[in-house]
């Protein structure tokens, strides 16, 4: 997946010279995960800019770059440290178009890796996507496959609205799928059916999609036909795809790495309740991290939703009866 991200950046930078990358260690070092490897040599230090260790000014100066007419692509080394820039993302990036009545659009993409089970130190893994979902004006993209990572990153860069583009740390090396050679884009706000199924739909995004697919495969061995719906973007949310899947299956499980309380699963469940209540045959199950802080490495596999816990969620909603 990391190669797909890198090639999206390179191809877009080739196409549009207004694009400037900025972030910590993204230049000479090529990024701590090598997402920008080779881009400094290819495009120079004026377009691939190593920044001081300061998230607020990485994002905040990108606002100014956008006001000057450029298309900045700031990188937060880890979404968990995005809290150091939250006021710039929520209070400035997301609102500048609205505040300025369209005079200053923010065509930027904030790239931020996140997610657990990769043995990082504390705070590196936190899944903070829901914290940003209330930032009106911002879009939130969370691809699970390499194909989507590239196609959606290109789309996000070309989109005149600001996008928080969350990349699954676990998927950087492990997720490997076919990426077309030719130029393509994947629209924002269109969910992807990752697996067909009629009994229950498992709704997930980013690295949790892989977990959901494995759980669905195990469920099939038990005679349960579990589909997987990959939301791909939380904002825009593909409400129609959600409702269609629930209408087809009547049962739903939502999976995410963030803590249960006020995770984006709550938004998904509330949306289904509002828009597809009469299709439901069982309560919606949420499989999420417990409401405790993300732990350090030795216990993190107990924390991040596992295949077993998702499978358990599937069984629960399938067996549920009044």
């Amino acid at each position: 997946m990391v190669e797909a991200i890198r090639s999206a950046l390179a191809e877009e930078m080739e196409r549009d010279e207004r694009i400037v990358l900025l972030g910590q260690d993204i230049g000479v070092n090529g990024g701590v995960f090598r997402a920008t490897e080779g881009l400094h040599e290819r495009f120079g230090g004026d377009r691939v800019v190593d920044m001081p260790l300061a998230e607020a000014v990485i994002v905040g100066s990108a606002v100014g770059l956008a006001c000057s007419g450029l298309v900045p692509v700031p990188e937060l080394q880890f979404l968990g440290f995005g809290s150091q820039a939250f006021h710039q993302i929520e209070g400035q990036v997301a609102r500048m178009r609205f505040r300025s009545q369209g005079r200053y659009p923010m065509p930027m993409v904030i790239r931020a890796p996140f997610g657990g089970n990769v043995r990082t130190p504390e705070l590196h893994s936190d899944a903070h996507e829901a914290k940003y979902a209330g930032a009106a004006g911002l879009k939130i993209v969370m691809p699970a496959t390499a194909r989507d990572a590239k196609g959606m990153l290109v789309e996000a860069i070309r989109d005149p609205d600001p996008v928080l583009f969350c990349e699954p740390l676990r998927g950087y090396r492990l997720v490997r799928d076919e990426v077309p050679d030719e130029e393509y884009t994947v629209p924002l706000g269109v969910a992807r059916t990752a697996r067909e199924g009629d009994d229950v739909v498992v709704i997930a995004w980013s690295a949790a999609v892989v977990v959901a697919e494995r759980a669905a495969a195990l469920a099939a061995e038990e005679g349960i036909s579990a589909g997987v719906l990959d939301l791909r973007s939380l904002v825009p949310l593909d409400v129609d795809a959600l409702c269609d899947a629930v209408a087809r299956c009547g049962r739903a499980v939502v999976v995410h790495e963030a803590t249960l309380t006020a995770g984006f699963g709550a938004e998904v469940a509330a949306t289904i309740q509002e828009e597809a209540f009469w299709s439901l045959e069982a309560p919606i199950a949420r499989v999420a991290a417990p409401d405790t802080p993300y732990p350090i490495a030795s216990v993190e596999e107990l924390y991040v939703p596992s295949v077993e816990r998702v499978l358990d969620g599937i069984r629960r909603v399938v067996e549920a009866a009044p």
Binding site: D46, G64, G91, F98, G137, K139
Partner: protein, 356 residues
Amino acid sequence: MITQALDQLAEPHRVLHPDGTLSDGYTPTMDDDALLEAWRMMLLSRVVDERAFSLQRQGRLGTYSSVNGEEAAVVGSAWALDPARDWVVPQYRELPAMLRQGYTLRKALQYFVGDPAGNDMGEDVKVLPYQISLASQLPHAVGLAWGLRHQGLDGVVLAYFGDGASSEGDAHEALNLAGVRRAPVVFVLKNNGWAISTPVSKQTAAASFAARAAGYGFPGELVDGNDLFAVHDATARAVARARAGEGPTLIEARTYRMGPHNTSDDHTRYVDAGDLERNRSADPIDRLRRHLSERGLVDEASEAQVRAEAKARVDAAVAEVEGAPRPGIDALFDHVYANPPARVARQREASRKPGP
């Protein structure tokens, strides 16, 4: 790298004295036309403040923060810019600088009465919108300056903040980045002595804010913020340096907020009455008037005329804004997204229908 001893920065540089006289050997760099233009703007600013307070008390205008007392700091710095290529990044107490860049009085009043359309600075007006989150504008200013230079433009960015905002992390991050990237930006820190009720002695233990510049690797200047000439000249030097690729400058303009923080504040709860009186005697408008009168450039009749014209302009803008239709429900949705999510589009549709 320039390092300056703290004691060099403890006393503000001043060339126009409270009695209206100039320092020996000082000749103003602003010509008479520019000077009278600046004078008219300072009076206009004072008239806007008076009118806005009165309108707010009548319930016709929202919360308002006046420029009152900071006119020389704002006008002096703004007059060092070339509005055709330079930018202003305001906080929210710099209306005269925004007007000089081409923002209109009508739009300002529109914003003050609460119409979001007033925050559209206008095509080709090189000003960012008002900033309410203190110091958040400083990273923007640095990025804007960097972006201009990246595109081969020779514009300079003038960014305003205050003694209160100086304590925010964004101020540190922005000044640091400006130094690292040698961005063509001039930071004007208007030290008006107060962040609402917090005196500057509770913002910093340092003798001056200007001294901080040394820590970021660029020059700092401390000037008397009620001295139009000192502020103007320091800014002009900084702008020239920035334009020449020599990087940023931090200017501390030491002034005084002569009234409450805003229309909701009662400063008599925390400002010593004697202090306020002493500082009112340093009113930058009075100081400039003494100087201009001495030179025969203004007199009572001409000032009365300038004030009458300013009042007429403000009245016309108020009438225009109050006569305009109030923004409707679309104002909640316009400009939030270029390509709105379907969900937001549906919310917009639903909000247009009459409620149950």
